[in-house]
Subunit: 330 residues, 2 copies
């Protein structure tokens, strides 16, 4: 069996392990309008990437994956809580192809069951070693506030005419990437890694998360629709701030900026997607974004390489996992 096949199988086992735990949270039955939406939302899945990172971090430092299960579950439940509330704020009808909680029930149910889900996330930490609990609680509090900050910046930017690349990168860092960092760090804490290595583990997660987000923006426009599974240009039609858009606005001359702005202000059409894509191409945005993504991934790998105490095979697993994440839909 090739190393890559072996790694993929290992990751599939970890995903399954987390998924089983998540599906068996043993929630109370009543009041059912509080707990049923939580079971529903947790069952519609996702790839359990963040908890797998926490488990891989435990292995990185020579411990059994399950050592980091409290962190893995806390991070996964927290992530789902943020999605549940973000869906209300974004008025999203669907999540992973299924009805969102506020659509299936109502906004009040979504607010309150989201709140309870956040509490359940904290509850997952209780089985952790008591001596590690202060560090774990500190970490989850810190990342939880950062994710709220990221969501607020994201909403603020929707009303703004102009967002710089730096602002955009800070927003996606807060909204999505720090949670990958925290998953790694919490796994490292539970594995007993020392502080400098915890930080390196965090950096690996953080930069992998940033690379993943830039890649996501790239795939929306330049991905192979066959493999990507959806029509290109969804972010353009949604007038979303993406790395491509903010970078283009930053480097374009006055004429091109005006053209971009007027296309973004135009109603949905095939021409809108084609013309914005054409402007991106003419500015060399694709190559810039690919360069940025590769640079972020290299920073992630460099952080990982800096962990001298870690096991080489486990490092290879994490690198393969990062590459799998990023290549996922190309």
């Amino acid at each position: 069996m090739s190393q890559i096949t072996e790694i993929k199988q290992h990751i599939a086992i970890l995903q399954h392990l987390v998924h089983q735990k998540v599906m068996n949270l043993d929630l109370p039955e009543h009041p059912n309008r509080l707990y049923e939406p939580i079971s529903y939302f947790m069952s519609i899945g996702g790839k359990r990437l963040r908890p797998v990172l926490a488990l891989l971090a435990a292995e990185l430092f020579g411990k059994e994956a399950a050592t980091a299960m409290p962190s893995a579950l806390a991070v996964e439940l927290f992530h789902n809580f943020t999605l549940l509330h973000d869906d209300i704020m974004d008025k999203a009808p669907l999540r992973r192809g299924k009805q969102t909680v506020h659509e299936k029930y109502d906004a009040n149910v979504a607010i309150l069951s989201g709140d309870a889900l956040m509490v359940l996330a904290y509850q997952q930490l209780l089985p952790a070693d008591a001596t590690q609990l202060p560090a774990l609680l500190h970490e989850i509090n810190k990342v939880a506030l950062e994710v709220c900050e990221g969501q607020q910046y994201d909403m603020d930017f929707q009303d703004r005419e102009r967002v710089t690349t730096e602002e955009y990168m800070r927003m996606i860092k807060l909204k999505t990437s720090v949670l990958l960092g925290a998953a790694m760090k919490m796994g490292a804490i539970q594995a007993g890694a020392h502080a400098a290595d915890q930080q390196r583990a965090y950096d690996f997660g953080l930069y992998t998360g940033l690379a993943f987000q830039v890649q996501d923006d790239l795939l929306d426009v330049f991905g192979d629709p066959e493999k990507f599974g959806k029509k290109p240009g969804g972010d353009i039609l949604a007038n979303k701030n993406t790395y491509l858009r903010v970078k283009a606005m930053e480097i374009a001359d006055q004429t091109t900026r005006v053209a971009l702005n007027s296309w973004y202000a135009a109603p949905d059409s095939e021409a809108k997607v084609l013309e914005v894509t054409h402007l991106f191409r003419s500015l060399g945005i694709r190559e810039m974004a690919e360069g940025e993504m590769q640079a972020l991934l290299q920073r992630a790998f460099a952080a990982l390489d800096g962990i001298e105490s870690a096991n080489e095979h486990a490092k290879a697993k994490l690198k393969a996992f990062a590459e799998y994440l990023i290549a996922r839909e190309e």
Copy 2:
């Protein structure tokens, strides 16, 4: 100085101490639509009763009040988080005479700043003694889920034709009283009380909370409008489930039940308040509620008396505080 005056002064000092801490949380400045609503909401106040209970619990077991400050702040911030989100769910325009967060900003801001406020509540526990942190985290998670359950039952009951007294008492226990219990218990944990005494402290808070809620329902109908500061019958006009209403429906004969139901279904009028109040009187509901309230208060005091290790003066302070809470607006 009489003992009662001394106790009142002491409580005022503790309220002030908590208030100062709450007003100096040292929140980040940005993003300001995340943190400013939190500062705003925390500044509109309240009496800081729950954190004062936590501080008095520390004194009960012979420790300085400030020993329990992490618990006091965690409970106070958590309580405000629940109010902030409840206001969205209840579409309440005002809280303590000021605009609610979703009115002053918007619903998204209220959802997200509420989420961040819950995280800040957990954050207050970090300075606690590391050996006590698992017990404190367990306690706050437990009460947090219970409060969510209570809010869900409250919303469920609004759509129900009939709620039993038992269901109503369980709902107010979950929605409001358990947090007073948890404040006492967490203060006791921080003061190093042993498990049986932690439970007695909890019971004192819980039954005081229940007595307080029954009294609140009583005052709405039978309170002195001069001292109570608002017109009687607000709960009747709002068609709220209260101890009086559910008890009346439980003991009334068929004819009286029909009369009560038709008055509750009627539009607002002075006659509605007068007639429902008259029906309550004819059923002896006032005396029943007063009896229930006194019985709950006696249970609270009995729990407190059972704490042999505690200091008598501190017990007297807690009893005086409970009586002050309950007598507050008569």
